[in-house]
C-alpha cells in the first residue's frame, strides 16, 4: 500500500480486514502519524490493544515488525548497538603477531563487529518497517531523552563509524501504560492516541470478530459483564479487551450457550489477575449477582 496515496477510509478498511475494530478516534491519529511520518504515542490501560496496532500496521504494509521491549535499566547498548567484544578479542588473539596495530584497530571497529540492536536495525533496514517501542514508561528518563533524539532525526552517530542515516523512516509506534509521566520533549515529537476501554457495542463487535464461534447473545452478555466490572467495581486492574477475549474463548471451550454464574466462577482467574481484585469482586457483587445484573440490563 502506498503511504502517500493512503486515505482514512482505506486505512479503516485495512484495520477491519486485519480484525482490528477501529473508529475515527483511532484511525485518524494513526493515519496522521503515517502521513506526517511522525511516531505515534499510544496510551491506555494494559490490554486495550495498543501493541496490536503496531502488529496490524506491519501486516497491512506487509513489512517487518521490529520490537524494542522497554524495561527499567534499558540503555543505549541494548537498544541501539554494541561492539561484539568477544569477537574482537578472538580477532586480536588471531592476528596479534602478524598485522600492524593500526590495521587491527581499523578492522576491529567495522560493521562486522557491530551487534545491531532494534533501533539500529530499524534505521538500517532496506525497506520501511514498523518499529514498536513497547511500554516506554518503564524506561528511565535518561533513556527517554536519548530516544527522542533518535526519533527526531532518524540518524545515529557511532564514533568509530560515523553517522548512519535512516534509509527509510520507519513507522514508529510507542506504547505507554501511563505508569510514569513521559517528558514533554518526547510527547511533543509524537502524534498522540489515547485508547480507552471500549463501549459495550464496540466490545460486542470485537468479540464477534475475534471469537466468531461464540453465540451472539452470549457475546452481548460477556460485553455487558465486562462493562459492569470495569465501571462499577473498585478494581486495581480492570479486565481489558484481551481478558474479555480469553474469557470468550474459555466460554467456547466450556460449550456455554448463556452466561451462567458457574462460568464466571470457573474462569474468574482469566478476568481478574490480582487476588485482592478477586476478593473485592466476590465481596461486592459475586458471579450470581453479576449475571442477574447483566441479564436485567439486556432486557431493557
Amino acid at each position: 500500500m502506498d503511504l502517500k496515496k493512503l486515505t482514512i477510509e482505506q486505512l479503516r478498511t485495512s484495520f477491519e480486514e486485519e480484525g482490528y475494530i477501529a473508529e475515527d478516534e483511532i484511525v485518524i491519529p494513526v493515519y496522521l502519524a503515517l502521513r506526517l511520518e511522525k511516531p505515534i504515542l499510544i496510551t491506555g490501560a494494559p490490554g486495550v490493544g495498543k501493541t496490536e496496532i503496531a502488529k496490524v500496521l506491519a501486516r497491512i504494509f506487509k513489512t517487518d515488525l521490529i520490537r524494542l521491549q522497554c524495561y527499567e535499566g534499558l540503555d543505549e547498548n541494548k537498544a541501539l548497538y554494541e561492539w561484539n567484544y568477544q569477537r574482537q578479542l578472538i580477532k586480536i588473539q588471531l592476528i596479534k603477531e602478524s598485522t600492524s596495530s593500526e590495521l587491527i584497530e581499523q578492522n576491529l571497529f567495522s560493521p562486522a563487529y557491530l551487534l545491531e540492536r532494534p533501533l539500529l536495525k530499524a534505521i538500517q533496514a532496506t525497506r520501511k518497517n514498523v518499529l514498536l517501542i513497547d511500554e516506554i514508561d518503564k524506561t528511565d528518563e535518561e533513556f527517554e531523552a536519548f530516544l527522542f533524539e533518535v526519533l527526531s532525526d532518524f540518524q545515529v552517530s557511532i564514533p568509530e563509524l560515523g553517522t548512519i542515516y535512516a534509509r527509510h523512516i520507519p513507522i514508529v509506534v510507542l506504547t505507554n501504560n501511563g505508569e510514569r509521566e513521559l517528558s514533554d520533549g518526547l510527547k511533543r515529537r509524537c502524534v498522540f492516541l489515547y485508547i480507552d476501554f471500549p463501549s459495550i457495542e464496540k466490545e460486542i463487535r470485537i468479540i464477534k470478530t475475534k471469537v466468531p464461534q461464540l453465540e451472539a447473545r452470549l457475546a452481548e452478555e460477556v460485553a455487558g459483564a465486562m462493562h459492569y466490572m470495569r465501571h462499577h467495581i473498585d478494581l486495581k486492574k480492570k479486565p481489558s479487551i484481551s481478558e474479555t477475549l480469553d474469557f470468550a474463548n474459555a466460554l467456547v471451550l466450556m460449550g456455554a450457550q448463556r452466561l451462567e454464574p458457574e462460568h464466571i466462577r470457573q474462569a474468574l482467574n482469566l478476568l481478574l489477575k490480582d487476588k485482592d481484585d478477586i476478593d473485592m469482586f466476590n465481596k461486592e457483587v459475586g458471579p450470581a449477582e453479576l449475571v442477574e445484573i447483566v441479564r436485567s440490563r439486556l432486557k431493557r
Partner: protein
Amino acid sequence: MQNSFEYNFARFVHILRHLGIKVSTGETITALRALELVDLLNKEHVKAALAATLIKNPDEQPIFTQAFESFFAVPEVKQQQREEWEEKRAEGRRLIEEADHDLVYEGETLSLTDEEKLFYARLPEDEKKRIKRYLESSKLPDDRYHSFKPMLEYQIRGTLRYWKQRLGEEDDNYYIPSLKVDDEVLASIIRELGEDDSNLLYEDMKKIRERDLPHVTNVLKLLSRKLATKISRRYRMSKKMVKIDLRRSIKANVRYGGIIFKLHYKQKRIQKPDIMLICDVSGSMARYAAFVIQFIYGLSSVVKNIESFIFAEELEYVTPYFMKIRPFEETMMELMGKSKIWGKGTNFNKSLKTLQEHYPLLLNSNTVVIILSDTKTLEIDQAAQELLKLKKSVKDIIWLNTLPYNEWKDLQSVAAFQRHCQMYECYTLAHLEKIIRKQFIH
C-alpha cells in the same frame, strides 16, 4: 484578518494554553499540517486530528473537548455565548461601581482591587451597612488624612478577607465570578467545565459530593500510583553497566587463560524510599476529610510499605486501618468513628514531637514524608523548629497545602514551614496531577 483560518486556529491554541494545556509552536504547526490531511468539513475528523496533535495527556481530553465544542459552535450558540458574557461583564461593572460609591473616605474612593470590590458588593446588606457606617464615622483632622487612609484600606481588606473565608467555607456558591477572563469563548468553556459533573479534576475537593466519591477514588488511585512510581523511580540507581567488577571478571575468565572475555559489572542496589504520610484532620481541614482519607487510601493501595498518620491536636497512627482490603466507605466510617482527634484543634508542634519520640525507627535517610495540611496550627515557631528537626532525619519533606496559593502570603505559618520543605498548592485533583507531573523530588 479576524475571519482568516490561521487567526482562528491561533486563537483556539491560545485558548487551550489559557486552560492549562501546554501547546508548543511545533505542535501548532503539526496540527496545521494535520488539518491539511483531513476533511475540514467533517467536524469529527477535525476534532480527532486536533486532539491527536495538540493534546498529549488523557486528562486533558475533557478540557479539549469542551474547548473544541465551544470554539467551533454554530453561530447561534456563539451569539448566545457573547450575549451571556456581555451581560456578566455589565453586571460586574455595575457591582464595582456600587462598591466605589459605598467605599469612600472623605469623598475619595478607597483603593481596593476589582476582586475585593466585587466581593464587597456581594456581602450581606447588614455587613455592607456596617462597613459604610464605620467609614463615615472614621473622621480625622486633615493633617492626618493621608496616613490614615492606607490604614483604613488595610482594615477593610482584612474584614473582606474574614468574610471571604467565612462565606467561602459555609456557602460554596459564594465565589465571585472573575472579571479577568477577557474572551467570551473562554468564559463559556470555564462555565461549562464548572458545570460538568464528570469533570472532577478541577473541583475544589472540599466541595466533593457523596455520589462523586467512587469516581474521585478511582482518579486518586491512578494519581497515587503515578506518584508512587515517580518517587520510587527517582531514587532508583541506574542499572547501567558503568563499573566493571574486576574481581568477578577475572574469576569468571580464568578458564579463558586470563583473557578478560566475559565482563561482569558492578550494580548499585536499588532502594525504594519509605513513604510516610501525615494528614491533617483538624477542624479547619474537616471539609477536606474525604480527600484526605481517599489520598491515604489511594496511596496505601498502590504502595506496600507506607506508614500513615493523622493529626489534629495530637498524632494518631492509622496504617492498620488501610491494611485490609475493603471498600473506601467502610475504611472511612471506621477511621472517623474510632479516631479521638478527628475535627479537633491543630497542634502540629505536639504532633511532630510525638512522631519523633514514639516512632524514631520509621524516620531514616530513606524516608520521604508527605504532609497534607492547610498549615493552620498553634505554636507555629515551635512547630517550624520541629519540622526542621524532622527534615534532618529524613530524605525529603513534601507539603501538600490545601489553601489556595494567593492566600499563602497572609499566613505566617506558611512562611515558617515553607522554609523547611517543598510546599505545593493542592486542593483539586488537577493540582495533585500537576505536582506529580513536576520533577519535585531532588
